[in-house]
Amino acid sequence: MNTTNKEAHSDIEELLPWHAAGTLNRRDTQRVEQALARDPELARRFAMVREELGETILLNETLGAPSAHAMEKLFAKIDAEPARKPALSLNLSARVAGFFASLSPRTLAWSASAAALAILLQAGLIAGIVIKEKSAGGYETASAPSTDPGVGAFTLIRFAPQASSDDITKFLEANKLQVAAGPMSGGLYKVRVAVTGLPKAELARIVKKLQEDKVVGFIATTE
């Protein structure tokens, strides 16, 4: 074995613990697997690593757990903390994530495809937050009362099942749309396309244009 091969072998050998734990990236995983397939000695050493992994887990599992007082102590300290101000410093994604989580599966149970609708509802929340932040210069939830909830031109949209929340968010932003309500029966959302009323022909033109986007499964005008 030449020097380069020795170095490569050493490099691969150093990665064995992470390979055993399943925490290598795809590229390194492939490198290690290829090396293991062609090198019986490395494979033997990998078996040792797997033994170490198993016994380390067992050792840690026998360490027990803290008593129930640990949580009591923590919350006693938290109670002694000064009252928390609203978390204005949170970034948008964290706030959106919070909204996602606030939706219990039970609230979505009316649909046979709760998971898909969860994504759509998330998209609505994203849109509401993004648009309202831009317009008001501050944070406001999508569910908060709008100053003019019934004013504008609206469509009903059902998003394509395969559209991700990211796709939908981009679609809403690109077309300056705002989710006004939803999800309604059938997974429909009421989406505002303009803040003022539009002539029927103009609204029909917008609907036709939006229909061409792959994230839109169904679209129709509405009051």
């Binding site: 613990p17 990236n25 050792l59 757990a65 008593s67 989580a101």
Partner: protein, 186 residues
């Protein structure tokens, strides 16, 4: 059923949600406790430390930027607090269990093998590693942290993480050899 992600819990905690804090605590406190316990080797100290770790999480949640996994972030806090405690109490005595494990060096290989099977000897050897080596072995094997994550938690370059793990394993082999188990490596 969908499980709320740690990142979502942190976002809620930043808003003062105590229930989210309870969920996060329930999800992670045992692992954080075990990580700290392996460092400080004292159950009472470890228990005190985890409430401090999670209090920091409560206080700092609004500043969490998601650059690392929440569990990685918490282990970083835990490690800092554990090392700070050890620095404050250099004379801290090891608990009885840890002391017994170290004193087991007195056993000769035959006795050790007679008393325990190979797996038990391996666990015994794992307990005898230095704090530095024990820490990295636990992070990689038990806490399932990547090279990058270990580097972030311990505060060392990724290359050092790999070599430190390598030498920890090498030391493990030496300890096993002392107990009569020759792994033929290194």
């Amino acid at each position: 059923m969908q499980t709320t992600s740690d990142e979502v819990l942190i976002a809620r905690i930043a808003g003062g949600d105590r229930l989210a804090m309870q969920v996060l605590f329930a999800r992670h406190h045992v692992r954080v406790y075990r990580f700290v316990l392996r460092l400080v080797r004292n159950e009472a100290t470890a228990e005190d430390l985890i409430s401090e770790v999670f209090l920091d999480v409560w206080r700092q949640a609004g500043k969490f930027e998601g650059r690392s996994a929440v569990s990685t972030w918490m282990l970083s806090i835990a490690r800092f607090k554990a090392l700070s405690t050890l620095r404050r109490k250099p004379e801290q005595e090891l608990d009885e269990e840890a002391a017994e494990q170290i004193e087991d060096h007195a056993d000769n290989p035959e006795v050790a093998l007679a008393k325990k099977d190979k797996a038990a000897v391996l666990r015994q050897a794992l307990s005898k590693l230095s704090a530095e080596h024990r820490e990295i072995v636990d992070l990689v094997y038990y806490h399932e942290k990547s090279v990058e994550e270990v580097a972030g938690i311990v505060g060392i370059p990724e290359a050092t993480v790999k070599t430190r793990m390598f030498y920890a394993r090498k030391k493990l082999s030496e300890l096993l050899k002392e107990q009569g188990i020759d792994r033929g490596w290194p």
